[in-house]
Structure formats: C-alpha cells, structure tokens
Symmetry: C2
Subunit: 358 residues, 2 copies
C-alpha cells in the first residue's frame, strides 16, 4: 500500500524564485531556458526535439491516433499523479483499440505560480511511465496562464500507435476486435481487476477521508494485458478501459451500440474492501466510479477461459474476473443480479459522482 507519493507533493515557501512565472510561457529567452534546462532533460529529450515538429519513421502503414486531457485534482494521489495518468491513460486508449504505442505528445497548461518542484515531479513521473509503456515523448508545448485562469496544471497528451501482433487463430475468427456493435447474446463480460479504485483514491486524497488502509488508484498500463490476449489467439469482441463513468458507462455505451442487454452478477464483481467501505459511506455504486488501469473485455463464450488465463498471466490483469454476460435485449439496457429477487436495472451515470477525477 503506497500512499506516500501524494504526501510528498512539495510545499514551497512563498516569494521565492521556485515558481513558474507567466513569462516562462511566452516564447522568449525564459521559455528557451525552461525548455533547455528543465522540461526536455526531465523527459529524456534533447533540445533538437524542441523544433516545430518531430519527424518519425513508421514501419507500418496502419496507425492508431488518440488524445486525452487530464485535469485531475489533486495532482498527486495515492498510486499515481497527473504525469503518470497522462501517459498511461492515453496509451490505454490505444491498447483497448489493439495498438501498441510508439510516439506521444505532451501539452502543458500551467497556472502561474506552480512550484518548479511540482512540475519536475510530474514530468519525472511522465517520463518513467513513458519508459514503462515503451512510448517516446517526441513533441510538446508549454503555456502559462495567469493565476486563477487555470488550476495548477492541465496536461493533454496525444499518441500514435501501431497494430499489435495477434497469435494464430485456428477457427477463422476475426483478427481484430470487431467493436461493440458486434456483441451478441451469450458473449461473456470480464473485468481485469478490482474496480473503482482510481475514483475513490482521488476522492480520498482530496477530502482526506480517514480510511485505513487508504485506497490507491489502479493507474497502470493495460498494454501487456491486451498483448497477452491477442498473443493467446483470443480476439475480444471489444475492450474498453473503464475510466469516467466507470464500468456502468462502458456497458451502457456497448448496449446502445449493439441493441442487446448486459446482465451482471453482483457476487462476481471484484471490489476491494477499502474501496467498498468508502463507497458505502458516500452512497456510491462502485460500478459508476472511474478506473485508470482496469478494462472491460467482451469475448465470445468459447473464448472465456482462454481469455481469463491470458489476462491473469499479466501483473496488471492478474485479478481478471468474469462479471456477467450479454443477453437478449430487455427493458433495461444493463441489469444486475444482486442475489435477492429479480435482477435490477443498473442506471447509466447521468453525469459523474466526482468531478476532476482524471
């Protein structure tokens, strides 16, 4: 249980030169020095990378491209920080599309007055995450806005990836996920680990809820889990990292795309005790709470066991479980068997229980 990370968020003394000023964002000498002495070395980039665009060579003609913005508050939370999140989150969007990441861009919007030490810690963390994900940060941008025009730091990353290799499949099944519209009754629904950890960890960090042990975010790289599935010759119908809106949002989107319903079994849904305790305290359903390293995977029934063992062979998905199945369309798009009486409808989250979770 590592909760020390966010407690180390540096506390600067006021009135010193340890903070970023507006002038650092404005293209002059201070900007050039910021790039050369602080940002680029933190990211393991040299100053040639500060040119207008990076030139890359792709061996594959087929490319995946995605972007995500990160506005999480606080910047540091148990199990992660905005830098790690901004790399893994965007790379995970590639992973669930069946792509391995190659190149990443990093756009910073910084509030005037942010301590240098905070920025350095975030960039260090982003660089470490990029190392783990084997993605190169090749281009970036920094804007500084006046105090009060943003809250500390926002990061927007974009990533380019290439299609992952798939193992041989003997039965002529598709070589790539066919998407949520291809879901059909009988398909099995899996999650790769215990749910709701990210949202609850961020909220606990924000409000200093006195739960012991403190919940930690699941913030992690999903690429190995997807690679293991494909290498085992299991091509899921579709996969999705269950971020904002949680598992419930993913299942509602899939139901809307396919015209079928989803039936979950409450007893099979993995939720850590500390997460369940906070959810109960606050009246939240863990199915509605954000994850950042946990995905939902839909597979054909005959692939279920192979999928579970492939997933469980990886550290990030060792807690993979079957949580339900796709059924014929019913009145409700998603229902959950709570163990007593008939299955009940599971609401689609209208908005979110927790703002600025990612």
């Amino acid at each position: 249980m590592n909760s020390a990370n966010y407690l180390n968020c540096p506390i600067p003394s006021p009135g010193d030169d340890s903070r970023i000023t507006l002038a650092h964002g404005e293209g002059g000498r201070l900007m050039r020095e910021l790039l050369r002495t602080r940002l680029l070395p933190s990211l393991g980039m040299d100053s040639s990378t500060a040119d207008d665009a990076a030139w890359l060579t792709s061996e594959a003609a087929e490319l995946a491209f995605t972007t995500d913005g990160y506005v999480v508050s606080p910047l540091f939370f148990p199990g992660g920080d905005i830098g790690k999140l901004a790399v893994f989150g965007t790379v995970n969007d590639l992973a669930v599309s069946g792509a391995i990441p190659r190149w990443l861009s990093l756009g910073l919007v910084i509030e005037e007055g942010l301590p240098w030490a905070t920025l350095a810690a975030v960039l260090q963390s982003a660089a470490e995450a990029a190392g783990i994900a084997e993605v190169r940060i090749v281009t970036g941008d920094t804007k500084v806005v006046p105090r009060g025009a943003a809250d500390q730091l926002f990061i927007t990353t974009a990533a380019i990836g290439q299609r992952m290799a798939t193992g041989s499949s003997s039965d002529g099944s598709p070589s790539r996920p066919t998407g949520p519209a291809s879901l059909r009754p009988g398909d099995e629904l899996l999650v790769t680990g215990s749910i709701a950890r990210h949202g609850i960890a961020v909220m606990a960090a924000r409000d200093a809820i006195g739960i012991d042990p403190v919940p930690t975010s699941d913030c992690a790289l999903l690429t190995p889990a997807v690679a293991a599935l494909l290498a085992a010759g299991v091509v899921p119908r579709t996969m999705r990292d269950a971020t904002r809106g949680g598992v419930a949002a993913v299942l509602h989107e899939w139901a809307a795309a396919s015209g079928v319903s989803m039936r979950l079994d409450q007893a099979h849904i993995p939720v850590d005790d500390s997460v369940a305790a906070v959810c109960e305290l606050l009246g939240l359903d863990p199915l509605h709470v954000a994850n950042e390293g946990t995905m939902v995977v839909a597979v054909a029934a005959q692939d279920c066991n192979a999928a579970l063992s492939a997933l469980r062979s990886t550290a990030v998905a060792r807690g993979a479980r079957r949580i339900g199945r796709v059924v014929e369309r019913q009145m409700a798009a998603v229902v959950i068997d709570r163990g007593i009486g008939s299955p009940l409808p599971l609401d689609e989250p209208l908005g979110a229980p927790l703002p600025r979770i990612c």
Copy 2:
C-alpha cells in the same frame, strides 16, 4: 477589414440551460449526448469517431508529429478565434517543418458555465479551418472543470503530417530544410507578410483600444506558402512561424543555434499603419509581438529572388519581403539598422509583452 467576428460572441441569459455543466464532461449519458448531438456533427465527424482511437492509413513511412496548446483570451478576436487558431497554429508547425497535414486531434478543457453557443461557434470555426487546411479531425476529448478552475476554454491540438513534395533542384542542393544550425553569413532573411498583427489584434480586442481601423490578426494557413517555395525548387535553410516572442524570438533562436548574427534593416520590415500606431502607443516593438500566419524564412543568397516570387504567388505570403541577412558573428546576436548611426542590438524578448496571446 473584418472586425465583426468577435463582436458576435454570443451573450447568453443567465440561469438557462444554454450552458455547459460539469456533468457534460464526466463520461455518462450527458457526455454521450454531447458528443453525438453537438461536438461530432460540428466537426463533421460521425459517432464511430468517438471510439478510443482512430485508425488511419499512411502511404508514407515518414511522419511529422506536433502539438500546441491554445489559451488565447478573448476567445474571439478580429480576424479569428481560438478554434481557427488551434487548427492553423498546429498545422503551421507542420508546414514550417516541410510537412502537409493529414490528421488532427482536438482536446478541449471547458470551464463549467461556458455557453453552448460559444462552444458551437468555436467548433464551427475549427471545422472550417480544418477544411481549408485539408486536415481531418479524427479524434478528440472533452473535459469540463468547475467554474474558476479554467478560463472559459482551452484547446490542445496535435497533428500528423507527411513530407511535402519538392520541385527538382538542378544544383545538388539539399531536398529539405537543413535547420537553423546550417545558417551562414550571406543568407537572406525574409518575412511572408506584415508583422505583429496577431498580438496587437488580440490586445486591441481585450482592451477595446479605440484605434480605427481596428487591427486584425494574421491568423492563417502557411501550408500554401511553403508548398510554393518547395515546388519552385527553393529549399530554405530553415523556416519558422513567428508566434510567441515574434520575429525577434525566432532570430535569436536561430542565432543561438548557428553561432552567426542576424542583421535587419528597419526600413524593409513590413508593419501595417494601424499596428504601428498601437505599438507606438504602448511602447512595443513590432518585432517582439506574436504572429499567427506569418513566418520567417532563411534562404541562400542565390535563392532570394526565386523565393520571393514563389511566396508572393500565394495569398498568405503575397506581402513577402526581404528584411535582412545573416552576417558573421558580432557582439550582439541580432542587430537592426534603424537608418541613423550604427546598427543597434535587438533584444531577445525575456518573457512576453502580452500574456495569453495564443
């Protein structure tokens, strides 16, 4: 002179449902409806594009990749708005690298309470700019932060491009720009149009300075100007759009990269009368003020005339001028001949005269 654009920024009545709420950014049903009914149609995208990553097919192995963030205030200004800026600005970074744009990502950070009509106008403008630039917006992300955690709207775009075709060059000169380190004494320095228009237009919009005619931004696409140069067989030493820090920041960066000095001739630097008037009023040097559709081009002396005629054949660079030349290293990295006495050093902007200009 089109100054109507920013005056049309919609003024909503308070307390209605015409504003974006926090819940729109949180991955639930409101988010899905926002995407399906508002964002994607505005951008000419269909809802299949709302998947985690977009799949693209590139005919070329060599790719250029770049990102930029936009925090301009106000969102609408004479000659442009944040949507147009976020497309052209990032595409221009590709252009000066010798790349034509293919695919663009669009990340929005929205302050709770932003009027729908404002967002719609910005997205409409971004879509129009993408049409002009012939770049496809293929992936995006939307975050909504609570009131006061951001100022209205920030946009971060990333773009992927491919190398532009070059015309035949008879003399064995390089087929692509060799970069600022290759500058040598005798090279000529060109700008593609009158300078400082963007920074002054934004400031005039912000402070409602009573200048008539009101200065308009040069916000425009530079791709045709670069394409014309290359098609004419002119491969510049290097090019740079003169955004934050203006022409002075570009020349100082180039001088630092090459170890030579730059000598400008004040009489040849194009500045519109209305821009010059505001600069004089505020004690600003136009060479320090941001441009958003004007670049500095360095060419070998023998290419100067061909470069000027190629540039002038395009609408965006029809005002191209020679403004100075590269000289042996002197005490000062950049000097300017003001027409009386010896040339004077031109300061590198330390920060910027104007925050949140782009």
